[in-house]
Symmetry: C2
Subunit: 229 residues, 2 copies
DNA sequence: TTTACAGGTGTAAAAATTACACTTAATAGC
DNA sequence: GCTATTAAGTGTAATTTTTACACCTGTAAA
């Protein structure tokens, strides 16, 4: 027990709200806790920040360890410092939210023994700690953010159709959008590159595939832009 | 030295970016550090979070102690967890941003021995730690936020003229706004209550005074509204 | 060959935003 | 007390943006 301090110190954790889009629904990745407290309850992936690790690095590492995810969009959300968040002792949690391409990653758990699963955001079970509140805030942030920055790209496969894109936005915003107006505005941003390919999968008319132009996106992001639907 | 842990633990602080509006300019409150590190440098007001205190409570307490401010708008901004932020040891800082009515409060320092002063946001001196980055982020947040929520009210006296309001927005956004259009949009929000009073101070035509309708504001805030200028 | 189904496209009406200039009420200086 | 100065206050027309809306196309399955 080598580390002693004059005053009590809180433990520091990160928790990640990982969103994915699949089967037309917005989903969130949860893990089932193997230990007390809240044993067997579903919770957000997360864990302790190591002494020589930045907060961002801790969030990335935990995601990698618990879910096998890497190369994902990650952004700090909010820091939760309620006194009795954790029944054991005082724990401060820096919450992150992440967006992943479901298609790129394994269906559910990856490495750890812990069970992991995707839940539709409207159908999550009772969560451990204050994780329900963290999830609520993350959803609010995602819904707000998506109107300013087309972060939705992070949730779609690298090649996608406009219909897929619209379905994603409708799932996140929870309302229907006009097809023609949606396409008009989206293409007007000049961020999509039409490919010479068409989706073949479905048994219907093939749809043109697009990819996202990261260069133009970053240029626009620096200047700030509006993407209101 | 009674508190011992198996692993090293970071210290936890709060830092506050306090904005005020005065003499037509957006200002930020800084204190001069009395001790090392960065002795005599200007820094954001802040300090350690106590073991039984929420983060919000710590921010309010520090503001009260260091600047005498109370009853102010306060919002969590971001958490800074760089490894070498503080040369002494690892310190995690939860940054807040605050908006205060300059007229309601003392010109500068209030209680502590430390010197405190307001600086125009474009003319801040070199700051201690990573406080320049925190300030930069707070400014960005304020500029973004003010376009969605009329938080500017928090910076003005309780009774104000439309010209004062416009000057505040111009100072924050850093560009001139059209007087007629500004008034049209602002009054269309139906959040201002015209008073039967007129400003007498200046040596010119008296301007009508308004106050802010908190009830309508809260109702609108719940639904979400846009205030684009 | 027909049917089912998502893909794809343009225009007109309505609403919001922008640009713009003069009169008014008070004080200060002569 | 007359004049100059200063900010207060006010409306409309042009432009731009947003919204609402319906039919034809291409493929696969029946």
């Amino acid at each position: 027990m080598p580390f002693t301090y004059q005053y009590r110190r809180a433990a520091l954790t990160v928790d990640c709200v990982v969103f994915g889009f699949d089967e037309g629904a917005l989903k969130v990745l949860l893990i089932r806790r193997g230990i007390e407290p809240y044993q067997n309850r579903w919770a957000l992936p997360g864990g302790f920040v190591r002494p020589d690790e930045t907060l961002d690095a801790a969030a990335l590492r935990e995601l990698q360890e618990e879910t096998g995810l890497s190369e994902i969009y990650l952004e700090q959300l909010y820091t939760f410092g309620g006194i009795d968040r954790d029944p054991r002792e005082r724990v401060i949690s820096v919450a992150y939210f992440a967006l992943v391409r479901r298609a790129d990653h394994l269906p559910a758990a990856a490495t750890d023994a812990a069970e992991a699963a995707w839940f539709e955001v409207e159908k999550v079970p009772s969560l451990a700690f204050d994780h329900a509140e963290i999830l609520r805030l993350a959803l609010e942030r995602l819904r707000g953010k998506i109107r300013w920055q087309p972060v939705g790209f992070e949730l779609l496969p690298r090649k996608f159709t406009l219909t897929q894109f619209q379905a994603l936005y409708e799932a996140i915003l929870g309302r229907e959008l006009d097809k023609r107006n949606f396409r008009k505005k989206l293409l007007a941003l000049d961020l999509l590159v039409p490919l010479e390919e068409f989706s073949t999968a479905a048994s219907r008319r093939p749809a043109q595939l697009f990819r996202f132009d990261h260069r133009k996106y970053q240029a626009l992001t620096r200047k700030g832009f509006i993407f209101d639907l």
